[in-house]
């Protein structure tokens, strides 16, 4: 595969795009879960949306239902407090990469790329840990004989009477696209030489 040549113009456009995508991922929901059951169908399905700094959705109803399931619902984990700083810092570097002269912005764009990679890896790890914790660190007021469970980060799973569907939301997709664009900006050879990764 041959990446397009990294001209100064392309580098700046890429940096601007990454900046915009990071801002979007700060604002938009990153990930969601949708829960359906015979008595929670159509408009009445339950939703949870995870943002960079908060969790929203049908939390009251989930908390009420949780009396029978007894799962651990962490809606105030330290990651929700830390994430805005991480996103903020990434955005600052993305802005530097976008507005410094291209010759001097290479380091900033590498930091952004690395930051996005780390954010995605850490975010997914923390999310998976929370999902594991939710289904395993259960209180004593649980439904009898209900096995521990781990909801997937992506995909569907039957948990008690609910089928749970999870997927990235707009903010999550923005972060993934930011990863791709900043990867391109970082690894594409500076013009006029073209580095060919297919070899």
């Amino acid at each position: 595969m041959t990446l397009p040549a990294m001209t100064d113009r392309n580098r700046r456009l890429a940096a601007l795009a990454v900046l915009a995508l990071l801002v979007a991922s700060m604002i938009l929901p990153l990930w969601s879960t949708r829960m359906e059951a015979p008595q929670y169908r159509g408009d009445e399905q339950l939703h949870v949306y995870v943002y960079s700094n908060r969790v929203e959705g049908d939390l009251g109803e989930l908390s009420t239902l949780n009396q029978y399931v007894g799962v651990k619902l962490r809606l105030d984990g330290p990651e929700l407090k830390g994430a805005p700083w991480v996103f903020g810092l990434l955005t600052v570097f993305a802005a530097i990469a976008a507005f410094l002269p291209p010759a001097r912005s290479r380091l900033a764009s590498r930091v952004v790329f690395a930051g996005v990679v780390i954010t995605l890896l850490c975010g997914a790890t923390i999310l998976q840990y929370r999902l594991y914790e939710m289904g395993h660190d259960r209180g004593h007021t649980t439904l009898a004989r209900m096995d521990d469970f781990t909801a997937p980060i992506l995909g569907s799973k039957k948990i008690a009477n609910f089928t749970v569907h999870t997927r990235p939301e707009a903010g999550g997709w923005a972060l993934l696209v930011a990863l791709a664009v900043s990867g391109w900006a970082t690894f594409a050879a500076p013009s006029p030489q073209t580095r060919d990764f297919s070899h």
Binding site: E44, T64, L65, Q67, Y68
Partner: protein, 602 residues
Amino acid sequence: MDTRAMRPLFTALLVVALLASAGCRSGDTGSTDTNDDLASRVYVPIGQWDKYYAFLSGGQSGGVFVYGLPSGRFIRQIPVFEPRAGYGYANVPGTESYERLRATGPTWGDTHHPILSETNGDYDGRYLWINDKANARVARIDLSTFETKAMTHVPNLQAAHGIAVVSPDTSYIILNGEFRSEIPRGKPDQRAYGAVMAFLDPVSLDVLFEVLVPGNVDINDSSKDGRWAFATVYNIEKAVTVEGMIQADEDAIVAIDIPQAEKALESGEYETVDGVKIIDPAKTKEKVLYVIPVPKNPHGCDVSPDGKYVMGTGKLSPTVTVIDISKIDKVDNTRDAIVAQPEVGLGPLHTTFDGRGNAYTSLFVDSQIVKWDIAKAIAGDPDYIVDRVDVHYNVGHTQATLAETMHPTGEYLISLNKLSKDQFLPVGPTMPESQELIDISGEKMVLLSEFPAEPEPHDAVFMRASDLQDKVIQVEELAPEAVALGEDRVERVGPSEVDVYMTAIRSKFGLNEFTVKQGDKVTLRVTNVETIRDMSHGFALDQYGINIALDPGQTREVTFVADKPGTYWYYCTWFCSALHLEMRGRMLVEPADADADEVVQR
């Protein structure tokens, strides 16, 4: 003759006779459809909704029954003039519904005619009104919650029978006082007997004025342009016995000219009796009342959807009298406004419409619905009868879908039968009332199905489900006085008065217990803080006769005196969750002689 040789022939004849009789029974439906065909036409698949809401009056059950059509599935009862503990309706002193019902009269009612609010001559899905014939009351039900929200007693009338909205925009609710008595009620004096039609504000139910009408005012309706209020009148004789009431050959349909009545009011031509302005048409300079003679003791009074005709249905006469509304104030003799008087059958009681020029009249004595062509009847064409179908048995009201609006759908009609006799499994000498659903979409009527009801629907109205279903709220908005989650508390507000504030949400009450002194007046306010639909909770208290029901989001208050010491569990009566049985708490009533200082308030 060898009789043994004839046995096979007898047997064959017997079988044929039995088959023939069975065939006659199914032939009553008026169609050649098989039972499977008929069943498929009323079957609503699981999880799907009926096409129509049907609101049936509850008669002496005092409420309104809600069914779905075409399935005939009973959906709920709306309690109005009778307490209904299951819904926490008017069953406990101190609740809003109880106080409102008690303030207007006895705790039972006899509901006859449900009517729906209209805008531009079509149902707008806001309100349903229902009369209480027994106690001269009217109630308004809010269709966003299907709950009774207003109720009033109407002075100066007895037996609040006919009730109608004044079309096309529900400018008034009109209510007939059927029984004549002295006005105002006081020393019995037959010479002072009278009957009125009352005009009410649709929302507040304030009685704006009443008009004196000769005879017994029975059923009513309005013209589609809002000008006329019509009523059938019997007992022009002013008798007080059955025999006396059927002497005259003619009674009447009366037409009240509403703008003229309003003018009479403006010019002060009324007398105030029991706080209500009564217009006596005999004393006004405006011509408020027109009397159109019809055959003796008419009953139904129905205006055609196009607003051209008002029809008086005969009862003792086998006819329907068709009156051209536009002629009423133009002719010298009101008799000349009658444009047809078709014979339809024995005991005609009510007439309804399909919007395609046909009328359908219920025949009480014949136990039939007869379909007839209005234009042909007016033109004198002897071939005006289109079809007849047998119903089971003794039909009173009949009503076609949206027939009271300016745009009937002409799809279904129900026959509200007074007797069901052999139609359902026997459940004692008194059998349920029977409703039969008839498809009127074709030339011939097809009897589709029947469904029973508690005593005793008189009349029905229908709404397209699509016109109402989205207006019905699923979760009530929290009222300002709602108790918030976490703010559950007990407050002693006087030496022997305690206010208790409590929430309910699966699967607990906000207070696991509260303690009061024997003799305390307890005011208990409970809010259901659920946010999803159908998650109702109840609050029932042992030995105190208390059960309140709470829709999601709803707050209700009840007041009682804790006059019995001991432990009294309260529990949730609406099955809500897997821990429903555990959803309870204790009211601890300390004996009166205990030291007040030891009373713990939690």
